[in-house]
Symmetry: C2
Subunit: 329 residues, 2 copies
Amino acid sequence: MANQEFNNLLSNYKIKINELIIRELKNRRPKSLYNPLIYFFNSGGKRLRAILLLLCARSINNDKYSEPINQAIAIELLHNFTLIHDDIMDNSVKRHNKKTLHLKYDISTAILAGDSLLALAYEFLNKGLTQNLEEIFSEFTRALTVVCEGQALDKEYENKKRVSVNDYYEMISKKTGALIKATCRIGALTQTNDKYIIDKLGEFGELIGIAFQIQDDLLDVVGNERLFGKKLGSDLVEGKKTFLLVNALKKARENDLKKLNKLIENKGINPDQIIKYIDIYKKLGIIDFTQKEIQKFHQKILDILNELDKKIFVEELREFLRLIITRKN
Amino acid sequence: MANQEFNNLLSNYKIKINELIIRELKNRRPKSLYNPLIYFFNSGGKRLRAILLLLCARSINNDKYSEPINQAIAIELLHNFTLIHDDIMDNSVKRHNKKTLHLKYDISTAILAGDSLLALAYEFLNKGLTQNLEEIFSEFTRALTVVCEGQALDKEYENKKRVSVNDYYEMISKKTGALIKATCRIGALTQTNDKYIIDKLGEFGELIGIAFQIQDDLLDVVGNERLFGKKLGSDLVEGKKTFLLVNALKKARENDLKKLNKLIENKGINPDQIIKYIDIYKKLGIIDFTQKEIQKFHQKILDILNELDKKIFVEELREFLRLIITRKN
């Protein structure tokens, strides 16, 4: 498949998904509840989860009439529900270069907007399903539970002095991996009962999620600020237990370790210290190490796709992976 | 059915429901997420919605083995999810005479605890269902949406000078009626496909919900503080647009109207003014009027039960209504 053709497919999906979401929100009352959500969805977002669900379904059955667009939207709404509530909990100021919902309005509005977005997600999930209803509901709900548990771990780690690499993996598997795993499994479940395909696509999704999160941690340090949509080094400023930090803590000795411990102790650093800390990462080889770890995940993901290649059409999923690998934001 | 026998049934259900909820929460990790929920459920609550769902199911099929205990718990968890988030939005200090969750812990913890409670609600909803899966999910989700819309209206009304009696009914139908309607419909849907029974039990539930809320407004003024579990007159202090206030605004003239408008203007009164405002209610006949309105609802509810009496066993639902009528808290 030509690169341009794939990009067009994705961009058409994104437009369609956005239109359907905004149209639904505009039809609803009271405005005080739904207008904040219109603001939120108009602020941006790549809709990658919705698109991935559709690609997984297409990999099994490329029939336009069985396209699970409602379930794709459901996953996207669930994801955005978590963003709205996480932004409150994390005191985030901006999302997609726009004010976060609780700052644009207030905390009460953002809590309630998030809640009703989750309700809307379940409404979409239930639309036009023809098979595996119980399994799809169960996957969706399980993902919601696990994402909450992942967010709880993330908050726990804020106050925890020692977060191991294993702790980190547990947290991102729950916070990011579980939802993308469910995305792929639900995409599959709308088209097939073949357990092998469902499980393999689930593994594919989980690894995509984990790799995506590690790359996110990396982009915070080496990304392009304008493309990335937030200030570089903000994870350092907030003292977040990123992949880079937990690995740096493992490798650092003496003076470097002292500085990293100071960051932990103070739960973050001043913005004018960012370059100094990135230099520590570089000196310890953390940037290279992180890039190599991401590549290992990409290889694992490719292996899964090669296995699946015997049973389904994986080319678009390969394209999707390429897109994720080369992303700058 | 003897009164004592019914009370025992209810009290056994309550114990069973509480045990199952607490056991589930204790089995889960991380503790930082689930311990706050254990605190919340140990603080109290009558579990009336769960019990009502079970009574609706029993009215159709009194077979212990088809008891929809998981769906009853699901409704109860959904209700408590709304309480936890509403308490944040309303800045509530106490619930069941205990500190509200966001004050016992913090707002982030309470947001996330509420979210994961909703996830748990959907997990329970999906357990052991043998029929009408899609309809039950749809009822449950619709109720969640409408409850959020009702809460949004409630927040809107806080800043609205003129709230009519119709506005009030719209708000409580959504905020309280919708969930109890869904409670009864889901109880029915677990046992039957008979549309007449499902619809009538739904109407029964909606009216129970509305009557319950008006009575709640009344108890804030005439209740027993110790039994009611919160300070009398707190709705007046907070300037809440209760059934009593919106009707008093309709009836009041001259000096009384001026005082009521002052309450609206200042979004509440000082606690030392409570007695003065209750006296206005009394003078305007609002207390009597409210009691009569509640009685009208009770008559409507009895009429529905009399209709249903030809098709199902309504005696326990009559007992439930009696319990609601005579409640002091």
